[in-house]
């Protein structure tokens, strides 16, 4: 009996990690040979199916999303941890709201973004509509990591700061925030990963134009969307693999950075 359990556990673990490494290996193996210079041409044409415009669009949408979601998320964390008193009703509601937000599937975000930003507010398929949709989507992630990071800061630091005559704001920005920074950053980095990998929420908000957006109200496509559109067309399988390689490289970098930061947070304690 014990033997059976031991084997079942080991086989499962082997399957999980085997599949993971196989997926990564397979995409890299099939994609790297197709990372040709023409894939990085400045302009997309139906012949070169360049992913360069998609790369720029991805960077734009990630940057803008962080610009909107990070302050809101971090400030929410400040309120929840540093200001609100225990048993505060607002805190309860905000918690329920963020937990619900984090469970909503991306297609529902996408549809909402289309109905609200694209149609009701008249933004059309645009960088701004995509950014706002993505910002709502990553908000719970940033809020939660900020909350956890702030709560892990030792209370004696706050008391020392107050004792030296610093006000609440000064204490938060000068004492608490620097200590909590790695934790907050690792949440922000996870948010980057979420936006980079997103497709369903952006298809009907950012749209699928093949060029680099030339303004907030111009459409574009991210790398993940680009890969999706290439795979459904079925004409450019090799280029899909190549796009997959770029996505995987980004995800690998994002993950190593976030692991590094959270390790630093653990050590700091």
């Amino acid at each position: 009996m014990s033997k059976v359990i031991r084997y079942a556990v080991k086989i499962s673990a082997f399957l999980t990690f085997g599949i993971l490494f196989f997926i990564i290996g397979y995409i890299l193996f099939r994609g790297i040979p197709h990372l040709t210079p023409s894939l990085f041409s400045l302009k997309y044409t139906t012949e070169n199916v360049s992913l360069f415009p998609a790369m720029i669009t991805t960077i734009l949408i990630v940057a803008l999303t962080l610009l909107i979601a990070t302050p809101i998320g971090v400030f929410t964390g400040f309120y929840l941890v540093e200001y609100a008193k225990k048993g505060n009703k607002l805190v309860e509601i905000v918690r329920i709201a963020t937990e619900t937000l984090s469970g909503i599937p991306s297609i529902v975000y996408g549809l909402f973004g289309m109905l609200f930003f694209v149609i009701r507010l008249g933004f059309q398929y645009s960088l701004i509509a995509g950014t706002l949709t993505a910002s709502i989507m990553v908000l719970p992630l940033i809020i939660r990591s900020t909350e956890e990071a702030l709560m892990s800061v030792d209370d004696s630091l706050r008391e020392a700061s107050f004792g030296l005559g610093a006000g609440k704001l000064r204490t938060i920005f000068r004492v608490v925030l620097p200590v909590a920074m790695p934790g907050i950053l690792s949440g922000v980095i996870l948010a980057i990963g979420r936006v980079v990998g997103e497709t369903a929420a952006l298809m009907y908000t950012l749209g699928t134009a093949t060029k680099i957006p030339n303004g907030f109200f111009s459409s574009g496509r991210t790398l993940a969307l680009h890969m999706y559109l290439l795979s459904t067309e079925g004409m450019h399988v090799n280029e899909s693999y190549a796009t997959g390689v770029i996505l995987l490289i980004i995800v690998l970098m994002i993950n190593s950075l976030s692991t590094y930061l959270s390790n630093r947070l653990m050590k700091g304690r």
Partner: protein, 286 residues
Amino acid sequence: MKSKSFEGFMKGIFIVSAMMSILAIILICYFIFAGGIPFIAEYGVKGFLLGTEWKPSNNPASFGILPMILGSVYVTIGAIIIGVPIGILTATYLSKFCGDKLYRVLKPSINLMSGIPSIVYGFFALTVIVPIMRNLFGGTGMNIVTASILLGIMILPTIIGMSEASIRAVPQSYYEGSVGLGATHERAIMTVVLPAARSGILSSVILGIGRAIGETMAVILVAGNQARMPKGILKGVRTMTTNIVIEMAYAADQHREALIATAAILFIFILIINATFLIVKRRSAN
């Protein structure tokens, strides 16, 4: 001092920020439900939820979403059958069987696994699993089983992450007591530690169900997407999520309202799953 009023001002900004997620959830509920429910009321709840025909271009058009509801339910059940046992056992391995050195490599791998974009999983399934299914069972290879395998893989990191944490949270004394009474390492874990962690494991499964039912872009590539009643596990299906993405591009008027209504039903499913998750989590916290 100016700082007093500035403090108050910043506190106001923090409160406004905190209200943003509440505002977001209200707006989302409003736009999805206000867009979908009038259509359901007009078309008839029964005809919409239990109608077996989805033919938006017929005259008169029929908008029954039972095929898609069943499609979502079937692939989710399939994902659970595949993902849950492997996930829980892998979590057990990570928390109780693997050495420290190995753990330092494997744990980040799980995070990496949850960070891989769903389109990459979908594309992998399209180019690897679909041809295998085609060779084994004939047909197109795009069917319930293929989608279930794909989703089963995709929910692994969710299940493993949370289950592992809850297994680790079980007091060491449970394990020691059991071993002290003569149980082997494996037996102590299976009969004492895992049952003690069951509510955490259960919430990981619920979270996994939510992920599976909400997944869209990966499923589109491998499920076949035929909008008809599922006829067997080796036949293609369309889920609620994919129905929205596939037809939204060209839908207009009533057809579009029907798609928003589909999203409303999907949203209700998700809200129920979320509420169950919160209840189980609260209970395990107490």
